[in-house]
């Protein structure tokens, strides 16, 4: 693959980058909106998990030692962050499918800076996640969830979810640029699932027994979930630690994705 001519004008380079990212973004959004079967599961699953966990397990609030103010809010926070993570991963399916069909090769040929292609996908992942959060938040409020946090606390929670979404997307991008096929989807989903499910999903950390209790001690997602719940409760706790964990994951995943991109460029050359 021959190198594109150097563009020396910085503003022009920025313009081209944004244009390329925007093109990929619009293509993806147009594609999924034309196919509800692709869009709906990503929207319905978080809603379903919220209803199943908050509805079916609300009796856990009677467990001695469970002192969170509202089980609905307890589960909503987890579902929000879970959908942020899986929302980033779902975009990986699209990246894999585009590699399978050969469209990614065309995109790589067309753009000057190939990270713009990933940026477009990342933007799509974030926009889709925002849509899902709005729907789940609305349904949760309608079904009686109480919000104890302030507006600033909720903004903090959303920012936390944004960082998680971007980190998860970068993980998916790194995986898909390495494997370059949708067949590798389980390789993305399984690690994500394990990280999420070995966090305090159903009850606070101090009520968990067994091996999951040990796993939560070392799982960075635990700090993120607990901090998110504290923001929801209006009692921010270890927020900086949570953001540090989230940004730490983000930074790692940036490196992971960049290296994956280089491998993909070399393979498609």
């Amino acid at each position: 693959m021959t190198a594109a001519p150097r563009i020396t004008d910085r503003a022009s380079r920025r313009r081209r980058y944004i244009y390329a990212a925007r093109t990929v973004f619009w293509r993806h959004m147009h594609f999924v909106f034309k196919r509800p079967a692709l869009l709906l599961p990503a929207m319905i699953f978080p809603l379903f998990f919220y209803m199943a966990f908050a509805g079916g397990l609300s009796g856990l609030s009677d467990v001695p030692g469970f002192d969170y103010y509202d089980y609905n809010a307890f589960q909503f926070t987890f579902v929000l962050l879970q959908s942020a993570a899986f929302g980033g991963v779902f975009i990986g399916f699209s990246i894999g499918a585009d590699f399978d069909s050969g469209i990614t090769r065309r995109l790589f040929l067309a753009v000057h800076d190939r990270s713009a292609v990933l940026a477009g996908y990342g933007a799509a992942a974030l926009v889709r996640a925002l849509m899902v959060w709005a729907i789940v938040f609305g349904i949760a409020l309608l079904t009686g969830m109480e919000v104890a946090g302030s507006f600033a606390d909720l903004v903090g929670l959303i920012w936390l979810a944004v960082v998680v979404n971007v980190a998860a997307f970068l993980f998916a991008a790194g995986m898909m640029t390495r494997f370059r096929t949708m067949q590798a989807a389980p390789a993305m989903q399984i690690p994500m699932f394990m990280i999420l499910m070995t966090a305090p999903v159903y009850v606070p950390r101090d009520l968990i027994e067994g091996w999951v209790a040990t796993a939560t001690e070392y799982n960075p997602f635990t700090a993120i979930v607990e901090s998110g719940r504290s923001l929801m409760a209006g009692d921010p706790f270890h927020v900086l630690l949570a953001f540090a964990a989230a940004f730490g994951l983000f930074a790692l995943m940036v490196i992971f994705a960049r290296r994956g991109l280089r491998k993909a460029e070399a393979a498609l050359a």
Binding site: A52, S58, G59, V63
Partner: protein, 265 residues
């Protein structure tokens, strides 16, 4: 040597050949078997540890959440049977192998019976695995040794029901993707049930109502009763009735779909 044929190839003979094929091709696809064993056990391990505090809820029927939750993989594994049976048949339709079968004297009923053989093979492996792993991890089996055949019979009935449903969808749609698309629906049915907590301890009214209406609750409770209670006649009867009814309805639907798909002059 001239080919000599039976005047009419009986149902038993055809079903035997098709069952043999179903078992062989399932056994040769570890991807059909391993995830159906590993994933439910993994989820069980997470839930048994993560939800162990649930046993502190007043009225919880056992002090071991592992024992309580061990019914879950039996049902979850049976849901995978929908995929196994339906996807295999849909693939046959998509790649033209079904046309090959249409050109033989094969009866539709023998194909249905044969396909279910593969499902039941996986169900046997699943039931044995879940039971052994659960017992090794410390779960109780209150029904004792005589409960094991009852557990297996219930498990097979559930798998057969889900398998027949998968066959119906595979035949109607002729598409493996449509069968795969059922999986989220099945998952919803599984979670909107008494899978995680006993029905009487579900606080949200709407969820309790949903779990009461959901037939999956009764099969879970039947399996669970063997672990937690021992011999609960009512729970077992309801579980068998629901599983058998689901199987009968699904097989009838699959038979109609087969007749339509197998249309020949």
């Amino acid at each position: 040597m001239e080919a000599v044929a039976y005047a009419d190839s009986p149902f038993r003979t055809q079903a035997r050949y098709l069952a043999w094929r179903s078992v062989v091709r399932t056994a040769r696809q570890p991807i059909m078997i391993v995830p159906t064993l590993v994933f439910p056990l993994f989820l069980l391990a997470i839930n048994a540890s993560g939800l162990s505090a649930a046993t502190e809820i007043p009225g919880f029927p056992t002090d071991s959440y592992l024992t309580f939750a061990l019914a879950f993989p039996f049902i979850q594994g049976s849901i995978f049977a929908t995929n196994t049976a339906g996807t295999n048949l849909a693939e046959d339709i998509q790649n033209g192998f079904f046309n090959r079968l249409q050109l033989t004297p094969m009866r539709g009923s023998s194909l249905l019976a044969g396909q279910l053989a593969g499902v039941l093979m996986v169900a046997i492996v699943q039931a044995i695995t879940y039971l052994l792993v659960g017992l090794a991890a410390g779960a109780h089996f209150e029904a004792g040794i005589w409960g094991v055949p009852v557990l297996f019979a219930l498990s097979f009935a559930i798998s057969a029901g889900f398998g027949a449903f998968g066959l119906f969808v595979g035949l109607r749609s002729g598409s493996g993707e449509a069968v795969q698309g059922l999986f989220p629906l099945m998952f919803v049915l599984l979670f909107l049930s008494s899978a995680s907590l006993p029905r009487d301890l579900i606080q949200q009214d709407w969820f309790q109502t949903a779990a009461t209406i959901n037939p999956v609750s009764y099969v879970i409770e039947a399996v669970r009763s063997l672990f937690v209670t021992g011999w609960d006649g009512e729970a077992l009867a309801l579980g068998f009735i629901v599983a058998s009814s689901f199987f009968v309805v699904s097989m009838i639907a699959a038979s109609f779909a087969m007749r339509e798909r197998l249309e020949r002059t």
